[in-house]
Symmetry: C2
């Protein structure tokens, strides 16, 4: 698939996809005419990229995950390990959020304004 279709299917701009390719976040083959040619898998991969990014992972981190996926091509065990690692990171982030939530929760009704030195 060419860049326009990938853009339409992922909701990203063509520029963003070119930027991602330049930065090793997505692999692009080339057609004879020089146009980029993406595998159908790129769609779900890019959806994953956006999700992970929205949750606070940097493009560099995500690219590293991609590399690791490539470097452990067929070993289910290696992939599972990688996913389990990611899950631990996600769990840690959720725990932090839960802590913040509790902090907020404790103040509901108490009227204590976070002891804010707000502007």
């Amino acid at each position: 698939m060419r860049i326009g279709e990938l853009a339409a299917r992922t909701g990203l701009s063509k520029d963003t996809i070119r930027f991602y390719e330049k930065n090793g976040l997505v692999a692009g083959e080339r057609l004879a005419n020089g146009y980029r040619d993406f595998a159908p898998e790129a769609v779900s991969w890019l959806h994953y990229v956006r999700t992970a990014q929205a949750l606070g992972f940097s493009l560099a981190e995500i690219a590293r995950t991609g590399e690791q996926l490539r470097d452990a091509p067929d070993s289910a065990a290696a992939l599972s390990k990688l996913f389990e690692e990611k899950i631990r990171v996600v769990d840690a982030r959720m725990a932090e959020l839960a802590a913040l939530r509790e902090e907020l929760d404790a103040r509901v009704g108490s009227g204590c304004p976070l002891r804010a030195a707000a502007p």
Copy 2:
């Protein structure tokens, strides 16, 4: 307290605190000699700022929260409403993380590499 102490107590650099003040994230009075003078509350407020930021809130969003806190000075009800709102945002973010977690979880053991078009 002057900027050096606030920096030491929050783990932020002085430059960062000046940057925050310039952007309305923290209030600084001035001493007669021009030095910034921060209330002790600034310490916990800045801790909150860093927590919220680490969890994906932009400084602009956080500054807005600060303003709202200031603008609803003593109304426990208004503050509670504000905190409840924040909690909803946090809950939404946690739900997203849970979804990502599940997505990852489903792939553990399956060996399916996210159908990655990795570089």
